[in-house]
């Protein structure tokens, strides 16, 4: 399983800058970042090469951070890849809380990050259906 760092942030100028600065100071590499939000505040979700270190650094710097297990699914690098995953998710009855995708720089590998309620149960179901997912280390080594 992979870990994602969720950070509470007010929608104010300079907050994202401060956050990335902290990660830079720690030498942390950001794989992917998304921001989901209400009007005045939101949650920044970070996929990084060292989630534990990032989480601790952000907490130390006063951010309200939370470490969350997610499923990082490898998508087929061809048309219909996402559709296949979504079909499996639907058939398995896994309730997706949030999801986002990104493509690695080599533009060959696409990843779909899925947040679900019960990660280990969902991981087992999806694994049994032949879906491939990555650990933190595997994400980093890609």
């Amino acid at each position: 399983m992979a870990n994602q760092v969720n950070v509470f942030a007010q929608n104010q100028p300079g907050r994202l800058e401060r956050l990335t600065e902290v990660l830079l100071e720690e030498g942390i590499n950001i794989r992917a970042i998304t921001i989901s939000g209400a009007d005045e505040y939101g949650v920044i979700k970070l996929l990084v090469d060292d989630p534990r270190k990032a989480f601790e650094a952000l907490q130390r710097e006063g951010f309200s951070a939370f470490m969350k297990e997610v499923i990082a699914l490898v998508m087929d690098d061809q048309p219909g890849g996402l559709h296949r995953i979504c079909r499996v998710l639907g058939e398995s009855g896994v309730n997706v809380e949030d999801a986002y995708g990104f493509v690695f720089q080599d533009r060959k590998t696409a990843i779909l990050v899925v947040e679900v309620e019960n990660v280990s149960a969902a991981g087992e179901i999806l694994g049994s259906k032949g879906l491939e997912f990555l650990s933190d280390d595997e994400l980093y080594s890609l």
């Binding site: 969720n6 509470f8 007010q10 907050r15 209400a38 505040y41 949650v43 907490q59 969350k68 809380e97």
Partner: protein, 441 residues
């Protein structure tokens, strides 16, 4: 009661200073005598080594310690009673729905005396039996509604017990029943003006309004003038507090140069809030009242925590009852919004209950458009959530709803990052009052 052209109760309103003070002393001694039958005062007098029978002048009261809201809240409120509980016909409560509220008990005679006082106030500004009075205040535990209601009926005016809110219906009532007098929260008066505008109406020509009582909320002289101009009315400021009775403690006469404290019913002192010594005449201090005409639950040297000054000299209207200025602020951190008293402690308790842990917070009072708004900023610590926006939204809704139930005003709850609010520097910084009319004139 025999009203003359200008005075509802000329006997009391036109007393000379000497006679007034003689009456005060007589009533004070009666009040102290009553107090000796209350369990609270028995112990209070004893612990202060104060002999109520030895009070020979008004100044002798300075030998008795002051009491305040905390004194009232500290235990069973019935211990203040000087009559059997069966003689109590009404209770009122200042604010809050839980333990923090203070309770005031009234006998039938107390209710009579209160209505009589407010009638005196209303009559003084020109309300007569021919008037139609629309009472746009909350009824219920809050004294602003019933206090004026009874008084207006006593004068013989027709009362429309409209209550608060429902702006379009308020305007409809004014027009259908030719309302001439309203009792309204000043910030609501401004808001209602916008509604008049939306309906394409001008209150100056579209209504029969001529008098507005704008109390229950601090406001500036500028706001009063604006209400007077836009509504085409005379607007009068008033002062009261639930612990004394409610409205009717002090009221403006047509001279509009301060509010006459009805000194036949209340002994007023202006004290330095720190030393509790009398301030110089005309200087600002905390208003401290002693009830002089209260049966059920007399209060002696009750600290209001309201800061004001007494206007020197006599009023052009001929009443010698001393006049107090607008309330300049509070000597503690309680604040009033939309006519409701709110203590930061109430907010703190709600947050503690909603979050399960203590959280740094701040209350910001602001004027948005023409309405007062209460914002509550809460720091979201890491342990309060598990990483989802959805949870935060739920948390915010929960806090909003629970605060609304506690303080009876719907706040705007904002979740902010940990460390973004100044850390606990005492109670004072918990409340930031940015309202335009927050501080006197």
């Amino acid at each position: 009661m025999s009203a003359d052209v200008e005075h509802w109760n000329p006997d009391m309103e036109l007393l000379g200073r000497e006679d007034l003070e003689a009456l005060q002393l007589e009533r004070l001694r009666k009040t102290l005598q009553r107090c000796t039958s209350s369990p609270f005062y028995q112990a209070w007098f004893r612990s202060a080594d104060f002999d109520p029978r030895k009070v020979g002048s008004l100044a002798d009261m300075s030998n008795l310690p002051c009491m305040d809201k905390d004194t009232l809240r500290d235990g069973d409120p019935t211990r203040f009673l000087t009559v059997p509980l069966d003689d109590i016909v009404r209770m009122h409560s200042s604010s809050g729905t839980t333990g923090q509220a203070t309770v005031t008990f009234h006998t039938a005679a107390d209710i009579e005396a209160w209505a009589e006082l407010v009638a005196r106030c209303m009559y003084m500004t020109g309300v007569r039996r021919t008037d139609v009075f629309q009472n746009m205040m909350g009824y219920g535990l809050f004294t602003g509604g019933l206090g004026f209601h009874y008084a207006a009926e006593r004068i013989g005016a027709m009362v429309i017990p409209a209550g608060s809110g429902n702006s379009r219906r308020q305007i409809q009532l004014m027009r259908d029943f030719h309302t001439t007098v309203v009792h309204i929260i000043p910030s609501y008066a401004l808001y209602l003006l916008e509604v008049f505008g939306e309906l394409g109406l001008d209150p100056r020509t579209g209504t029969d309004l001529r008098i507005a009582f704008i109390g229950a909320e601090p406001h500036t002289e500028a706001l009063r003038q604006r209400i007077e101009e836009t509504y085409g009315v005379d607007a009068y400021n008033s002062y009261g507090l639930t612990e004394m009775c409610g409205p009717g403690v002090a009221f403006e006469c047509p001279a509009k140069q301060g509010m006459h404290v009805w000194e036949d019913s209340f002994l007023v002192e202006v004290l330095d809030p720190v030393t509790l010594e009398l301030v110089e005449e005309g200087e600002e201090g905390e208003l401290v009242f002693t009830t002089l005409n209260r049966e059920g639950m007399p209060l002696l040297r009750y600290r209001t925590h309201d800061l004001a000054s007494v206007h020197p000299g006599e009023c052009s209207c001929g009443r010698v009852h001393r006049r107090i200025s607008r309330i300049k602020g509070r000597s503690d951190d309680m604040f009033i919004i939309k006519g409701v008293n709110v203590f930061p402690m109430q907010v703190e308790r709600v947050l503690l209950e909603a979050l399960g842990v203590g959280s740094n917070y701040r209350i910001v009072l602001d004027t948005v458009g023409s309405m007062d708004e209460m914002r509550v900023l809460v720091e979201v610590a890491g342990e309060l959530w598990r990483g989802e926006v959805r949870e935060l939204n739920r948390l915010r809704r929960k806090i909003t709803e629970e605060l609304r139930q506690e303080v009876l005003v719907t706040p705007l709850v904002e979740l902010v990052e940990p460390g973004s609010l100044p850390a606990g520097e005492g109670k004072a910084v918990r409340v930031v009052d940015k309202r335009e009319h927050a501080r006197g004139d």
